[in-house]
């Protein structure tokens, strides 16, 4: 008999996966080096993918991009398939659900706020981020901390605190979600232009392959800042993320390029 717990976690799921259950027995019966094992493993993982997606869905809207959650949940699912012991008599779902959820939770812990930041500060950071976007539109430039303080009716010290709290947050942050789908950048419109703009740079040849390895958005932001000389606030508006997020992406990209260039030098 199936336990009732997985049904509670995923009400319609039990029948959905029933046809996969015999595969676990077959899987367990095969010797470790049997080539059929990896086929069955693939089939089991693929067959249970909706479960991973469903769990990812339950955790969405909490500041981590949905695709990332699905990926993490899938890793959890693969672990569950590998570790599941059919002979112990329990059913797979009651084992898999907590395993996958554990993986997702760990991801939140590892990639969310790097240090435990009190809720008040997280909220403060969010309202500062919102206020700075609003003020930037209004002023046509990035606001100062005192302008943000006046706008929100809080003290400057609170603004400092909130800005600092933001530094404790990993770059894959609420910004990512608040700004929604950020990958819909016009891909063709500046591609290649950055390269030309950096042609005068002496380590150009060393730089190009590193630039090509960058994700499209990071590359674009880098070009807008260092070739087109736009401010971070202008870039934020153009790309559709917050200024603080632009700042973090730039920091990460520059560090990556520096490391790449140093590696080439020492090779």
């Amino acid at each position: 008999m199936r336990s009732s717990r997985p049904e509670a976690a995923h009400p319609t799921s039990s029948n959905e996966y029933q046809h996969l259950a015999p595969l676990f027995d077959e899987f367990a019966a095969l010797p470790p080096d049997d080539p059929r094992r990896s086929e069955i493993r693939d089939e089991l993982v693929t067959g249970h993918l909706p479960l991973a997606e469903h769990i990812a869905q339950r955790f969405s809207g909490r500041g981590v991009a949905r695709e990332d959650l699905v990926q993490v949940a899938t890793v959890g699912l693969i672990n569950a398939v590998d570790r599941f012991d059919a002979e112990r008599g329990s059913d797979f779902l009651s084992f898999a659900v907590p395993t996958v959820m554990g993986e997702v939770r760990r991801h939140f812990r590892d990639s969310g706020w790097l240090v435990r930041v009190p809720r008040r500060l997280k909220e403060l950071h969010l309202s500062i981020s919102g206020a700075s976007t609003e003020l930037a539109q209004h002023l046509g430039r990035a606001p100062t901390p005192s302008e943000i303080a006046a706008h929100l009716g809080i003290s400057q010290d609170e603004v400092y605190e909130g800005l600092e709290a933001g530094n404790a947050y990993h770059s894959m942050s609420l910004d990512e979600v608040l700004s929604g789908d950020t990958e819909n950048l016009a891909l063709g419109d500046t591609l290649g232009e950055e390269d030309a703009g950096l042609a005068g740079v002496e380590n150009h040849e060393a730089l190009l392959p590193l630039l090509r390895e960058l994700p499209e958005r990071e590359r674009r932001i880098l070009g807008l800042r260092f070739v087109h000389n736009m401010t971070q606030t202008q870039i934020a508006e153009r790309v559709g993320v917050s200024q603080m997020h632009v700042s973090r992406l730039l920091a990460r990209t520059l560090q990556r390029l520096r490391e790449g260039l140093t590696e080439q030098e020492t090779e």
Binding site: S132, A142, P143, P145, S146, E164, N203, L207, F226, M244
Partner: protein, 161 residues
Amino acid sequence: MVRRLHLNVGEVNVTDWDPPDPRERSDLGPGDIELRLSADLVNLPIVRSVVATIATRADFDLDAIADLRLAVDEACSTLITRAVPGTVMTCRLTVSGDALCFTGDVQSATGTEPSTKSFGWRVLTTLTDMVNSRVSSNGQHYELNIELAKRRAVEVPGAGV
């Protein structure tokens, strides 16, 4: 009982650095900050958070604060990768009326200045209003110095309001 550290300060030569005489008159202005850190990339986060804090409290706009953070990161990386291992990097931060100035110094192994045609230099000139590097020699070693300044983008009446 007070727990004692395993360190016998009387015998162990912790560092060959003599602390400045507290009676010595400071050559730092009231708002000036000087940092002495070992010239090691692990110290980068310290320097950039200090510069961000100073710029924030001086009420620079968020773009300027973020740019300064990136610029100091870049400048210090350049200094540290050229520094003689195990030596000290000295950073001085000054806010004068409308600009924040940063100066970093290391003992360098080579007498060459960072190239102004490098990508790193492009980063520095884009992010700041002034950047300058200098190499000097005292006969025993070279000293490499990078100086940068960023002005306030916002005209603030009476600065800091």
